[in-house]
């Protein structure tokens, strides 16, 4: 009923908006110049603004991570609109962005709370699409939510730029044509970690896995087990633990007698904080097994988790997507603008969503349209650098970014509360790259891009 | 013939002997009073009739079928209906509803899903309920929620709820306990009036005024055994009863 009326208004708005942007920027509006992509797609921006949807957890266990993501987004919007010091706009190459919004339209945004639940995340994303007219959805801090939102965006016909999602499935068996991931994944964690672990702990190791009993946990368990077995380690046991178990003692004590000398914690967030804290309390790190020091590995780290686990993380290896202490120009520019705006360094969550927002905007500029199909084509196979992870490729086959991965260690000489992790090695992209038909990523299909209602 | 036959009922609570070899025959149409001092086992006996307690030994036969081991609602469906010592009514519902519900039990049985029927389609039940409310003198308050009734009115309502079921045997557990003299008298009148319907009644009562105005037969229970049984006049003069009541000033 009402939306029919609205659509009439909108059609007229398209022309007006187009005229306005000619006048405002003096550039030929790309809508007219790129006939390959229809101008009539879902939520096509009509006025002088374009709306992005930032869908992050604001309540629940990952609320702090969500808050940091929002900071990253707001910074990105500021920079896109030409505010602030420009951040990575100054370092990104190649770059089509001009600091005047996206395609001359001022960037606006709406926010929502995913509650780290698939249902709530989808409801929130739907609100952004249906009510607020968002042309792109981004965010998420767990793989379940990201996958659920990604498939929603595919069905609805908008672009989804994934936030924090580490499961292989996001760009594996659940990949979608409208979805893109900048963050690294469990396979990359394994591939990056294994050589470092081999160097530090040798080839003769027996690993015991504690794994969060849901899809992300399983893919990480499989990835790490595969990577470590490749360097000669044996996997003694893989034990699944319920999500949110709280007290892990009943899963930790069997480790003592298992003959294993490495404990791999495939946990994230609160589960990881708890299981690590308790494992250390059980004296695992003081133990000697098979004549070697017992060690713990946490394949996926985040600074907030390290903060939660306190000094228990000291000396424990893990991997991360990005860290503020990196010295390359892109990272420095981002840390500088983030630090000056908020007074503390950004987390990897803030970094990945900042990059995602910029990458989306840049793709729009290059495609000359917001049409998801155009944007997707522009992103596919896009090679860029200067965004903190070296030379990066957005692979066309699965919409996954291939870039350097960091192996980090809990800092035992931290000087401030931000200085909890130190970068041990920057693993080059080549080492973590895999074929699109790798068995761990098989089974899915990108399908065709969906521009929404025509 | 006896509508209710109680044979050799024994009931012990732990070591306490509550009922011992109780035998009781209630004739159809009778108003049979069971009297006795506190703790004599009157309520225990009544509880054995309605499935609240199961005797250790003995039998309770109603119309030649056993009442033991069957559920309370089955006993009710068989025609044995009880008025409780503290009124058991539906406090959150209106008086009319309170009386209509038992009528449904009578007409629709122990369970029936009549979820699509409108209440008003059951005018026969409604008319009957209004009639009963008239009988117990509460028709003016038919749409009042019961929790606001006085205790005496609640008792009368409960009596009405039992009457609408057309019981074959009505068990009355101290129907006038805690009532004023005026209320007691009006209850007696009411019970007398329904007595004309030919319902067999067992009455447990302390108030001898009530007992002797109503009962056609009396059993005296003391320390779990029946010590005397007979017509009211016989009981009045019975020395064992006098003794049981310690002088029996009331009698």
């Amino acid at each position: 009923m009402t939306d029919i009326i609205k659509k009439h208004v909108d059609r007229r708005g398209v022309i007006k908006g187009g005229m306005a942007s000619i006048l405002a920027t003096g550039i030929m509006p790309s809508i007219l110049t790129s006939p390959a992509y229809a101008a009539d797609y879902l939520n096509a921006p009509t006025g002088k603004t374009v709306t992005l949807g930032f869908n992050v957890p604001q309540s629940g266990a990952y609320a702090d991570e969500g808050a940091d993501e929002l900071r990253g987004y707001q910074l990105a919007v500021e920079h896109l609109n030409g505010g602030g010091d420009g951040g990575m706009l100054n370092t990104m190459t190649p770059k089509s962005l001009k600091g005047n919004g996206i395609l001359g339209r001022k960037v606006e945004f709406v926010t929502g709370d995913t509650q780290t639940k698939s249902d709530a995340a989808r409801a929130s994303a739907k609100r952004m699409i249906e009510k607020d007219g968002a042309i792109m959805i981004t965010g998420g801090s767990s793989s379940g939510v990201a996958i659920a939102t990604q498939s929603l965006c595919q069905e609805a016909g908008v672009i989804f730029m994934a936030g924090l999602t580490h499961s292989n499935d996001t760009t594996g068996k659940d990949k979608r044509a409208n979805g893109f991931r900048h963050f690294f994944n469990a396979y990359m964690s394994g591939a990056a970690l294994a050589p470092v672990l081999e160097k530090a702990y040798g080839k003769e190791r027996k690993a015991y896995h504690l794994t969060a009993d849901y899809t992300w946990g399983w893919t990480q368990e499989a990835s790490i087990a595969q990577a470590t077995e490749a360097i000669g380690w044996k996997t003694v046991k893989k034990v699944r633990t319920p999500l949110g178990a709280g007290d892990f003692s009943q899963y930790i004590t069997p480790v003592l007698n298992s003959g294993a000398d490495v404990l791999v914690l495939n946990h994230y967030g609160k589960d990881m904080v708890n299981s690590l804290t308790q494992a250390v309390q059980f004296g695992l790190r003081d133990k000697q097994v098979n004549g070697k020091d017992f060690v713990i590995v946490v394949p996926l780290y985040s600074r907030l988790m390290a903060q939660g686990a306190g000094k228990n993380v000291e000396g424990i290896f893990g991997s991360t997507n990005w860290h503020w202490s990196l010295k390359d120009a892109g990272s420095q520019a981002f840390v500088k603008s983030f630090g000056q705006k908020y007074g503390f360094p950004p987390s990897q969550a803030a970094h990945t969503v900042y990059c995602q927002t910029l990458l989306y905007a840049d793709a729009c500029e290059r495609a000359g349209t917001h049409n998801p199909c155009g944007v997707a084509e522009a992103l596919e196979g896009f090679k860029f650098s200067g965004m903190g992870n070296g030379d990066t490729l957005y692979r066309a086959a699965d919409h996954q970014c291939f870039k350097d991965v960091l192996v980090v260690e809990g800092n035992d000489k931290s000087t401030s509360k931000f200085d909890l992790l130190k970068v041990v090695q920057v693993v080059p992209a080549k080492q973590v790259t895999y074929a699109p038909d790798n068995p761990m990523f098989k089974g899915g299909e990108l399908g065709k891009c969906n521009p929404g209602k025509a | 013939m006896a509508i209710l036959q109680v044979t050799d009922v024994n009931k012990n609570f732990g070591g306490l002997r509550a009922l011992h070899e109780v035998n009781l025959d209630v004739e159809e149409g009778a108003v049979h009073a069971i009297i006795g001092p506190n703790g004599a086992g009157k309520s225990t006996l009544l509880n054995c009739f309605v499935g609240l307690l199961t005797p250790d030994t003995g039998s309770v036969m109603f119309n030649n079928t056993s009442l033991l081991g069957i559920k309370p609602h089955e006993i009710n469906q068989a025609g044995v209906v009880r008025v409780f010592q503290t009124p058991q009514i539906f406090e959150d519902l209106t008086l009319l509803e309170n009386v209509m519900i038992p009528a449904f039990a009578k007409s629709d049985g122990a369970f029936r899903i009549n979820a699509w029927q409108r209440m008003r389609q059951r005018t026969e039940i409604r008319d009957e309920a209004e009639h009963i409310l008239e009988d117990v003198g509460l028709i003016d308050q038919r749409d009042v929620i019961c929790s606001s009734l006085s205790r005496g009115d609640k008792r009368r309502l409960e009596l009405g709820m039992c009457l609408i079921q057309h019981p074959k045997l009505l068990l009355l557990d101290e129907p006038t306990a805690g009532m004023s003299r005026a209320d007691t008298n009006s209850t007696i009148d009411l019970l007398k009036k329904i007595g004309e319907r030919g319902i067999t009644k067992i009455v447990i009562e302390h108030d001898m005024h009530v007992v002797f105005s109503l009962a056609t037969r009396i059993s005296v229970l003391a320390q779990g055994t029946i010590i005397a049984e007979g017509k009211p006049d016989d009981i009045k003069g019975n020395p064992k009863v006098q003794e049981a009541y310690l002088g029996g000033a009331e009698i």
Binding site: S249, T253, G283, L304, G310 | -
Partner: protein, 337 residues
């Protein structure tokens, strides 16, 4: 053998925690007849007593790290260390056990304010109303804590001297692998002594006698002309202290965040109900029973037999017990039926 002994210890330790959390809840249930969905929030406030106390102790001199220019990175040295050197350090080290001292008055106050300000107006209301109002309160308390402390867990460490594990196996001449964290042993001892103290208080004092009588038959006690209202307030305060202390002592095991109370809420209800409504002994035995069963169900041998059993064991046991024993282990007839 070791594995079984360790799981028994785990079970006892869990059981102690469950019992302690359930104890306060069943006290409130039994005496006040209140379905308190804010009980988890009390546990959470207790935990944050420890956090705040630690923050207070580690109030620091901030020295700007000049090497970082983009944002304010500080080297932090707590004032206590500056003033008192190693003594100060030691005090900070003991912040968790020391925070019990402030948690007791704080929790008592919280409990009394809650009871006086809110709960007492709900004694006569339906359970549904009680659930809604206490649930609302729990959310409000959580959000307030989240506002000040964030959503991320905040680690609290046990004192250095008990940070490691006790070599139980070596003492007993068994395997070296039989070790157990000191702090968990302390927690077990602590929960047992708190439970004992609550029982002693209820059994040996006249106040306790009245409360027990109240749990048995609230109306009669009211009729005896005893000022039951004031006692209710104190009982609520006591329950708040017990759950608060459980929270304080649990912080080194589980770094607290604002949501920690909700995670224990369902569990504590299950424990109380399995134990039987209004029965303190029931709650304690149910706590230990569920703790031990949960530990054993998580053993690899059993998990491989019945996959996923460790995820549902608590609920499964609850169902079985409630079907076999209609009012839980030690419940009485007519309480919240």
């Amino acid at each position: 053998m070791d594995a079984i002994l360790l799981q028994v210890l785990n079970g006892l330790d869990k059981g102690g925690a469950y019992a302690l959390i359930a104890l306060g809840l069943t006290l409130i249930f039994g005496t006040l007849g209140i379905v308190n969905f804010a009980h988890g929030a009390l546990f959470m406030i207790g935990a944050f007593c420890a956090v705040s106390f630690n923050k207070l102790l580690t109030f620091s001199i901030k020295v700007k790290d000049e090497s970082i220019t983009f944002f304010d990175a500080y080297k932090e040295v707590p004032y206590l260390e500056v003033w008192w050197g190693d003594t100060g350090k030691a005090i900070i080290d003991y912040s968790v056990p020391l925070s019990i001292l402030i948690a007791i008055p704080v929790m008592l106050l919280v409990g009394i304010i809650m009871e006086r300000g809110l709960i007492r107006h709900f004694y006569k209301r339906t359970h549904a109303d009680q659930i809604l109002v206490t649930f609302g309160l729990a959310i409000v308390l959580q959000e307030i804590i989240k506002h000040f402390f964030g959503a991320n867990p905040i680690p609290q460490s046990a004192p250095e001297i008990v940070a490691g594990s006790a070599a139980i196996g070596t003492w007993l001449g068994l395997s070296d692998n039989l070790v157990y964290p000191w702090w968990r042993l302390i927690y077990l001892g602590f929960s047992l002594s708190v439970i004992a103290a609550v029982f002693a208080f209820l059994q040996l004092t006249t106040f306790g006698m009245v409360v027990r009588a109240g749990m048995h038959d609230r109306e009669t006690v009211g009729l005896l002309g005893i000022n039951i209202e004031r006692r209710f307030t104190i009982v609520f305060g006591l329950a708040a202290v017990v759950s608060g202390l459980a929270g304080v002592m649990y912080t080194p095991i589980l770094p607290p965040d604002y949501h920690i109370g909700m995670e224990f809420l369902v569990l504590s209800f299950v424990v109380v109900v399995v134990g039987g409504m209004g029965s303190l002994g029931g709650a304690v035995s149910a706590g230990f029973l569920l703790g031990i069963l949960q530990s054993f169900a998580s053993m690899n041998e059993i998990k491989s037999l019945i996959p996923g059993i460790d995820q549902i064991i608590i609920y499964l046991v609850a169902v079985v017990i409630l079907l076999v024993r209609p009012r839980g282990l030690m419940g009485r007839k007519g309480v919240m039926e």
